[in-house]
Amino acid sequence: MTNLTLEDIIKPENLVHERTKLMTDKTLSYCPGCGHGTAHHIIMEVIEELDMQEQTIGVAPVGCSVLAYDFMNIDMQQAAHGRAPAVATGIKRVYPNKIVFTYQGDGDLAAIGTAETIHACNRGENIVIVFVNNGIYGMTGGQMAPTTLPGMKSSTSPYGRDVHDMGNPLKMTELVAQLPGTYFVTRQAVHTPSAVRKAKRSIRKAFENQRDGNHGISFVEIVSNCNSGWKMTPTDSNVWMVENMLPFYPLGDIKVDGKLL
């Protein structure tokens, strides 16, 4: 049909997707294939699309994404392990018109940070919480998280999580959805293009909620792989995630516009 060369196609006017300017040029510190990277990109794309960067202050947790501020090209604060919701509360309360979000792992948000998470949600702070649930403590070398699946191996459950001894995986997202202070609660993933598109729409909705009214928390869980922690290749880990994580952590909206679905 056509003998277009690559040079013909690769021209500025034909550009349809490029890395958002709100990501820095630094190589991400994440392992190859780690979902953190994708999550970073879509958040920054949303902030760019909503033209919010001048008002936005992000809060990075302690976890693999501790260095999020190296990659997200916006003003950020690095919070103590688990305390990002308190830090974000501090910021938002003194700047009600700025846009504040936290980016947290499952260890950070659902273990040490449980009280801060529950209470920020309960107070209905008008912020966005992005919760990357990879079922494990990635940063410290793959220890069991509150979200680790039953039977799942980790460096502190080397024979598999024994729910009798170690408790059940904690569905923080369902839990916070019960609180009147949450306005939008959803669970998404970023392992396929369509999942990414949906996740991005959720993130966009979350930030729009914050912008458009003092509604309370918009809480976006992103189920993700931790291929290093799970000791799999990136692509295998995504398959494993679909087969094991998603049945337990089903994707979809849980609460929209303040109403439980």
């Binding site: 510190s29 392992c31 190859p32 290093s228």
Partner: protein
């Protein structure tokens, strides 16, 4: 006798376990040993290195900046540690992936094509044992017997069947180490 050694390369090359086997070998012949890995941010997909000391005496500092021997397994480590060999010391390296070869003239430089030899032997995992062999040829600080004992101690029992393969790899390394000071 005190040997102060650094082994440096990528994570995944078996740097740490090679050091561990060597240390265990030292214990087998009743020597004092220490094994001090770099740890931390550089671990994730980055470089890995370990300082091993084998000595007849109590070891003071397990962390050193100058070494009797450096085993160098990638370019980054070459850049970092070539200068850390004490004059008269030994540098052993695998040329695979090395873009700038060592240039010092006051040390003894050896080369072993560990990666190639291991893959020729059909098992990339024994790479580190080939390197160990090369090292032991140059610096026979522990007896082969004790290395085997060290292997047995550091490998879980279910892997003991692999010991002969490891032994072969060591021998392969011993045979194929090349004295660069002479060759070049």
């Amino acid at each position: 006798m005190t040997e102060e050694l650094i082994i440096a390369g990528f994570g995944g090359q078996g740097v740490l376990s090679m050091g561990k086997i060597l240390a265990y070998s030292g214990i087998m012949q009743e020597q004092e040993v220490s094994w001090m890995p770099s740890y931390g941010p550089e671990m994730r997909g980055g470089t890995a290195n370990v300082i091993v000391i084998v000595s007849d005496e109590r070891i003071s500092s397990p962390i050193l900046t100058i070494f009797d021997t450096a085993i160098i397994l990638n370019q980054q480590s070459m850049d970092k540690f070539e200068k850390s060999v004490r004059p008269g010391g030994v540098l052993i390296y695998d040329p695979n992936g090395i873009t700038r070869h060592p240039e010092r003239t006051d040390i003894n430089i050896y080369q072993v094509e560990g990666a190639r030899l291991a893959s020729e032997m059909g098992n990339a995992k024994i790479f580190n044992m080939v390197i160990l062999g090369a090292y032991l040829k140059v610096k026979p600080i522990v007896k082969l017997d004790n290395v085997i004992k060290g292997l047995m101690k550091s490998l879980p029992v279910r892997y003991h069947k692999l010991i002969p393969l490891n032994e072969d790899a060591i021998t392969m390394g011993m045979k194929n180490v090349v004295d660069k000071n002479i060759v070049n």
